[in-house]
Symmetry: D3
């Protein structure tokens, strides 16, 4: 079972104007083979299909808490995409529909993002191809699944880096920077899990790709907070056994600010979920939102 808290993992700066090509680039981090739908899907099905959960509790707990975090990553990158596609919006209903007000949406990298989803995020990559089951590995052999996950997080890191390197918009840069810090931690976590199973110090391969996060300005605040050392349980009462892997005798990677690794109860503080104001012409609401709000508010008050 799952609960949702109505916050984002971090606060995203507003997009000053619609930038559908930046949003399309960010789609690679949502629906691409090395995107957040993939990290989510892999850890989710590995966790559901996990054999011998009791005997292998620390490993099950590690995969399960990272899976829970990935839900928030999907939310973060989806929100970033919707913000970039949308810009500040324009809800005035007196738009002249006959003047091709959205002509600029032709010839963008993913025209369907506007035409079908009104700028919303969908589980596709930057070329428009759907996320799918071929991007999920769940063999049930713990070693292979962990090795896959380690490779997946390293691969995801180079994708995040490249998307960042195309990005001038602060909204998208923030998404990439946050995901780079947390993805680096996940790579580290799977490396340590493999080390506990095999004795091989595979974490010495990190960071892969070999770019320290201090070259990304937007990462600094997250490193200063220790976000590269803190594994959140993302559960009120469960998964603390992940500390058997991500434990206090392990420390941050050499290129990052030093410190001991910690398993943290619950959740990070997070940031506000943005209000997304639509464009009247694109959404054509069948109602006046204010009016509906008023009716619904009354009903809600009555219901308490």
């Amino acid at each position: 079972m799952f609960m949702r808290i109505d916050k984002l993992l971090t606060e995203l700066p507003e997009a000053k104007k619609p930038d559908p090509n930046a949003a399309a680039a960010l789609q690679e981090l949502l629906g691409g083979k090395y995107g957040e739908m993939s990290t989510l899907g892999n850890y989710m099905f590995q966790s559901f299909n996990f054999r011998n959960k009791t005997q292998l509790r620390p490993f099950y707990s590690l995969v399960s808490s990272i899976f829970a975090e990935e839900l928030g990553h999907v939310e973060l990158v989806s929100t970033g995409i919707a913000m970039l596609n949308n810009g500040p919006g324009n809800q005035k209903s007196d738009v002249d529909l006959s003047k091709a007000p959205f002509h600029d949406m032709q010839g963008t990298a993913l025209p369907g993002a506007f035409l079908s989803s009104g700028g919303g995020a969908t589980p596709i990559n930057s070329n428009g191809i759907s996320w799918n089951t071929d991007m999920v590995t769940t063999t049930g052999n713990l070693m292979i699944d962990l090795l896959h996950n380690f490779h997946l997080e390293c691969g995801a890191r180079i994708h995040k880096l490249r998307v960042y390197e195309t990005m001038t918009e602060p909204t998208g840069r923030e998404v990439c920077a946050y995901l780079l810090v947390r993805g680096s931690l996940h790579a580290h976590a799977y490396a340590l899990a493999l080390k506990k199973l095999t004795g091989v110090a595979i974490e010495k391969m990190l960071p892969t790709p070999n770019i320290d996060l201090d070259r990304i300005p937007e990462c600094q605040k997250y490193l200063d907070e220790g976000k590269h050392r803190r594994l959140y349980r993302f559960s009120p009462d469960d998964y603390e056994e992940a500390a058997g892997i991500w434990s206090n005798d392990e420390v941050a990677l050499p290129g990052d600010p030093p410190g001991q690794l910690e398993v943290v109860d619950g959740l990070p503080e997070g940031g506000k979920i943005p209000e997304l104001a639509g464009n009247y012409g694109a959404f054509a609401p069948d109602y006046a939102p204010e009016e509906i709000f008023e009716i619904a508010s009354k009903l809600y008050k009555k219901s308490r």
Copy 2:
């Protein structure tokens, strides 16, 4: 952000033997167009892409809390599939691999379920086709999205019914029965949301398909508990505004046990997540689980 609680929405009876064809049928309810990945994916992206969240809070809250529940549905049906594919398992390592111990896995409905995933669930339908973005509608026009969702839940209901009608195994029947009760509630919820927006009493179309749940024996305990009347918030502090729609002036559908509709804080009680014991020959673990458990337990104790 999200949290996971290490419980299933309901307890599932153990599978007495591997039944890969029953598991394949259940895949329709996981990865099919009208399966739980679809209800999840639709409400998830609609919630992330929602325009005017503040002004339309009751609707945003309704979609968001149902989305959070759907995560648990995906978990429930995935667990059922893994249980049916797996049966009781056999972890003895002295299996003779050269005697074709898994010959029976040839010619099943989805041979890849064993060959690739060791019997684990994956996001595919009963014909083996991947879940994908074509199964997600997120237009951003609230009316269309709700209408889609209402149709989706009615469509999902006939799929659940048909899968149930093929099923002799108690594990799979329980999954179907639970999903039928909760899916019926979701259809009802979206109907009421549409009624609040338009004044049209579309909930009078329910139940669609026209099968009362009292014809399904496994549904009775859920109806007796009122699971058809209780919308859980699946959030510690958020989404209570869903009560503006699912409120106390609305009552259960005529064919179901009578009572007022309620928004319930937090979560249902839920059941135990099953231990899945693998087959040595199929999983070939690279370690002795007991040994690893001992090492990891020590590390964990040290970490506290």
Copy 3:
């Protein structure tokens, strides 16, 4: 069985120049989930798979005649795409192929439209993804299928609107406008079918999205002709029982020109199918069309 009449449902203005990005946008209305291949495919398979055709004749007739119309919609939007991609064409064979005469086709939204199909329409959406079976719902439960169809036509309407809002070329605007009028009628028809089955006045949700067609200048002539009130049988002798649903006690929607709904025998008058003149360099015909024409004409005359 089917017959084809060599006319378009409406006449389309010529495209003055190739506009592949406009054509790509229009592909959303051909091969997208809410495009004409989808409305066609859904009603076609629902009609072929229809249970109890005799007892439910009015419903079978309604789905069947709308399906026959959708064939013409696929033709109309395909023709529009080919016209926009093609422009006026250039059949002179003295083009210098070595001077990159089609360099402008690089970097368009769908380069394959030129490279593979010479600008012809294909069953893909605006992101280049194929139409496929996931876009077809044919449960055989009449209520669910009709509910699906009602949602599909409403969803199609917002797609048509958005494509229109990107479009400056008259060819594409005309396609959108025609489809908006007829799609609105189809939404209305499925609403009435649901009302006959359930008594719920679901047509009061229309128009969804909430944009009256009088805001689209190109729609006016079609409204003036009553194209929003006339359901053509698209059959010489069959499907008149659709009048049990689209009958004379029902009237046009409030925002449209008033009048009674009518079932009309046969076909609308329609317009000319355009001659598409290709580019020599892109089509490289293996023959001189005039010469072939002469030979074939003689053979044809001989054959009569």
Copy 4:
């Protein structure tokens, strides 16, 4: 524009019992790369995208009238699939849903055919894979398109033959036999079109594969009627120029009953569209069909 006539191209014998594996085999002829959706899709888009229609009228007419026939082929094979999946049906509503009345649908070749479509046909092949745009060739170069079509019809012929060779059910055998006769004619027609363009007597390659139709008992009546020599226009007034290709100086292929080739006005006589009686348990109608029929009949009478 198109019209539908409520008849099948030929009459199909009733299926005595549900035979989902036979229906799955027949799906190869509906949604496979060499199935009827492919012949339809290829000729449809070639016809819509045709360059220089006036100058190349006989070729345009040939492709267009065969395309119109293919609509009827899709209808025929879809109907066969639905009949085989369905069998005689059982509409009694007192079925005990809790006794797994459809257990036999587990482990069939395409379980989703029952679970999702209630036994209806969908555009997939015998392995469950969707028909898609990769199966459409529309280069706009007439020679290449005709050459493709010639190869497609020869390829389709071996698929039809193989499906026939697996088939014991009369319903499915009849579908294959009918399609074999007409497909052979279409291969012949494209061969003659190529001959008119190039002078190469490519029709001498026929029949490919090298199986005379007199080895298929169900083909005899169609050969006796001359169905291998008659190209129907499938249009009330258009496409007679196809006679420039399929003309009276050409004769039937050597292995078939001799005679001159003819272009025939209009349509073949055809057979009855079967009533498909569903199973109550699988379709769960939301209404009593008789009752609805009565209401609708009254409305219809009133409407005339």
Copy 5:
């Protein structure tokens, strides 16, 4: 550039009868995510896209020679599939096509294998899903690509093991056994490449999954020959620099017969490519093979 030698990597025992379900299982090792098309596709595109080939010659050479070997793996597994589907064949032309001679092909795991390909291999997995680009990783970052490859070979190993465990037919068992030995070597090779780059002794994780090959009787002859220690260059003159990685200071893995690793010039000896005799009814050859053979032989002799 490439050359083909008309031999198989190893000789395969004949299939005594058609066994389409065994062939379908083997398809997982051809077209599955962890099958030979994937190992081929990954190393092929990595080799073509390789950056800094000169400076990183040993790594380029390693990937390139393994890629060349994978071509032979695709050939081996394809041949095994065709043999299992085909059995001994029956070329007599007096088969009675009207007696459903291939009725047994209905209800197999992949009916399309017979219906469309006459039992030939195609690039699909055991569920019928196509191999595709999502199964190719070519980031251009050498570490990530090698890490991916290492995980891929370990994952491939558990797939090979599971397919073997379903297999009673000697043809299929031989394919699995050969691929297990060579796949183990490839995993070892990528491990050593990673070690040279990073100093991490990742080869200590092998074998993964943890099944020594001496538990597979069919593997013994290959181990005895040293096939687990010999990296063939699969090139007349190139790629010997792979010896910088697979060099003489490295030895076989502990569970395998001991010995030094060697780079071997050229090719293994290999075995005969089997003659596949088709079934007349399924292939319907348009010619008498003997006759054609005679004509062609004469032409060939004349041509020398």
Copy 6:
């Protein structure tokens, strides 16, 4: 079995700057339905699945040697794509990652080419869609397979022509020109194979499309060398029986430089495989290539 020679089939001019849109166009010739992956995949599986190899040796040899050549075509077009995407590269590590150094990669035709593959080639078409099994025909009926191949090469020719016509970059033009010459030869070869089987002079349809290669300047040197008349065996000892088809009594096509057709032993001379220098920012190598080179060189020397 296969061997690789570390050379390209022809030498490609360097790309002076990154041109991702030209590279995207060239992808049509790699992963499109009529691209080199398709010609490769068709002939590869036809060769592996070939029935009666001994009796039909000249045909088997023809398909097999062309298949071996296609491996080199895939290599050539992949190399061209990587060169065009990459340009001259920049390996300096002091790039400022935070200044969006790859902003220009947003809004290109295939953003994923950079974001995921760092500009490497992948098996997709110009719209980003994966190559897949639907593009492979292997019926096992020799006539149909050859007819398919003949149509495929003609279709490929118009694709190559159109890509060429969009191309200003010499790298891409050279690829197209080379493929046009060799593809024309392959079409000719399949035509002759069909003629030997059937007596129909189908090669008289060539060239299709009807563009003589002397209109393409980059083709001249290949025509002068006789590359349109020489079928290489691409094998050290096998496939010479192809001379039964491509023999000395057949001559070049009328529009090409005259001469007899020849089967040539072994391989063409070929050109250099280009060094591709990456961009530091995009590849972030985890090592200094020079250093690694030195270590590996020492190891390699030691190994000899």
